[in-house]
């Protein structure tokens, strides 16, 4: 296969996902902007809440508190029409290095991953690498459950199960 030119539209806009080991998930994507801009979109709550939940998930972000600094806490509250109760995701920022690295814990369950995001700038573009380390393989296999967007899918599955009556 011919190697795509760096920075061509096809090489950009590509989200690669890899199961790096039994307990790891790695997602990469290149953005056509300097690292400080991409970092800004991750670290300012008013920007972050505009992209973290895809519209297709049918969820809304009720509140978004992010104390972005090493040792700071975050708390995201979501609502989904299928659920009476809101869902809360929370944890602590283990490391915040502006324009370079973010590390946070996911503490809503004891099976939560530690998420590391790195921002590598090259020729005005930024390679974002998101790495999730789960405590066990089972936790990683069920990982989509831990992320808010996986929930509607699970709700649909639950609906099916309940409708089946078996």
């Amino acid at each position: 296969m011919p190697k795509e030119k760096e920075g061509s539209p096809a090489a950009m806009n590509r989200t690669a996902v890899e199961r790096k080991s039994d307990r790891e998930l790695v997602v990469t994507r290149t953005f056509d902007a300097p690292a400080r801009i991409v970092f800004e979109a991750w670290s300012k709550p008013e920007l972050f809440k505009r992209w973290w939940i895809p519209k297709s998930a049918g969820m809304s972000l009720v509140s978004c508190d992010m104390d972005i600094r090493t040792g700071g806490a975050y708390r995201l509250v979501f609502r989904h029409p299928a659920f009476d109760q809101p869902m809360t995701f929370f944890g602590t920022y283990r490391e915040v290095t502006p324009h370079k690295r973010l590390v946070w814990t996911n503490e809503e369950s004891d099976q939560g991953a530690v998420t590391t995001v790195t921002f590598e700038e090259r020729a005005g573009k930024t390679l974002v690498t998101l790495h999730e380390l789960y405590p066990t393989k089972a936790a990683r296999d069920e990982a989509i459950a831990g992320s808010a967007e996986g929930l509607p899918e699970q709700f649909a599955q639950l609906d099916e199960l309940l409708a089946g009556g078996e």
């Binding site: 056509d32 979109a41 992209w51 895809p54 989509i144 967007e149 899918e153």
Partner: protein, 78 residues
């Protein structure tokens, strides 16, 4: 490929749970763990869809920030 090389390849696949092997006498029979492969592909695809949707939205915001920065810089120059 040498037999030793082949054995190595198979053992990696076996460790990953993608094939199963059974040795009877001198013959080792390999079976594809098809189900595992399909599950693996489905898992990766679910995650890819989620992150792709997220990052497409992030891409738009990054573009907006970039345009705004450019416009601000031009305004300052004037």
């Amino acid at each position: 490929m040498t037999l030793t090389g082949m054995k190595k390849h198979v053992s990696v696949l076996e460790q990953a749970g993608l094939v199963t092997t059974e040795k009877v006498g001198r013959v080792r029979t390999c079976k594809l763990g098809l189900r595992r492969l399909e599950e693996e592909a489905a898992w990766i695809e679910r995650h890819r869809q989620l992150w792709n949707a997220r990052f497409d939205a992030l891409d738009k915001i990054v573009e907006q920030l970039k345009r705004k920065e450019k416009a601000d810089a031009q305004r300052k120059r004037r």
